[in-house]
Symmetry: C3
């Protein structure tokens, strides 16, 4: 009855922390583990569609939710670094360094995780607070709350909060 | 001999991270799990009494400890955001967004956790370093060190560092 | 077949978070647990030799890697605080507070962990990205990637991401 399932709560939307989460998830999936990444709060930004999106969903955003929405990055392409971000210049530098080192980009890590079957879950409570509707998030993900997370964590042998 | 006990090391005192910890703790407690939150470093601020408190306890604070004490927030009402804090304006905005979304406030999440029997432990080593005495922290919590944490973590099936 | 092995991914290079990781590692080692700390990204700074180091290793650094290298701290002596860092003034104040409280310094915690047999592993992927060669890191550590981490995490009962 050994399990090798892994769960990651991706709370952070920082470029470097998202990268760490995706590297672990890709590695575990490559070894045959079930992996679920629960995206909460800033981590939801990873799942946002890029470009302008018509907000359907449950009613309208409040003014504050619109403001938060406009100020937060959309998708893996626009995240900032947790350290040495230099008002936004740090992440492009890190991307350049990664390219020079022939490391996979964040986008590639994300696509690889999806192809390997890593399950991405959007935290519905965070969505309610930040005013995100399902139409603003990418396709092929699941929607769930903390009870669902806890159920999966109980079945896993490694549970990280990133 | 399955366990569903959960432990959380609450290292951060950021509004959003504390909220994540309390949501997980409340969810687990509602599902019947034992939950212990070890508050260390900035996480100790969650347990501070608000208002002016006579510092009894073991001797006096040093000047530096007094300075750290004055600069750090007291209780769940005054924590800042880890991102987009805008020199303190971010947390009030987040609180307003949460209220508009009918989400529980941080205070309510904290009280709910206490009512559901979530155990809060103050890390005594952090207290020594930051110069906090027991009289400065709220009632009904426990005091312990890393050995106690490790003992509980060994009995738990989910252990998070937040 | 109970295990008490512990793993910590030390992603952060913040003084206070490194301290938390080392306190947990020392505590667990003192209780007889096997402990492995995987240093990735900013956490690699903990393993850097202080002073000027000739970069041998696989080829030369790119200009950007040199820049990152120069801007990041070397070893436990020069790390900054995650909060209230005050442009670098926070960590020295915290060190002074710790000394006054007779707490172990970060250097002492690090040495104690090494003496107690805590295993330090440098993440090779992070090294490639940041351009660190083995000659720039301290002696007596191991080098491995995510597969090695996952193998150890599967054998452990507590796995933290700090």
């Amino acid at each position: 009855m050994e399990t090798t399932k892994k769960t990651i709560i991706l709370f952070s939307g920082d470029f470097d922390r998202v990268m760490a989460a995706l590297i672990i998830a890709n590695g575990a999936a490559a070894m045959g583990d079930d992996v679920t990444i629960f995206c909460t709060f800033w981590g939801l930004n990873v799942l946002r569609k890029s470009g302008k999106v018509a907000t359907n969903g449950k009613g309208k955003k409040t003014g504050l939710q619109s403001m938060f929405g406009r100020m937060m990055p959309k998708g893996t392409g626009r995240l900032g670094l947790s350290k040495m971000n230099f008002a936004g210049a740090g992440a492009p530098l890190m991307k350049k360094v990664m390219k020079q080192a022939n490391a996979m980009s964040l986008d590639e890590l994300f696509e690889s995780a999806r192809e390997q079957g890593v399950k991405f879950v959007a935290c519905t409570l965070s969505m309610d607070i930040l005013g995100f509707s399902e139409g603003e998030l990418i396709d092929g993900i699941e929607y769930a709350g903390v009870a669902s997370y806890l159920g999966e964590a109980d079945e896993a042998n490694v549970n990280l909060f990133i």
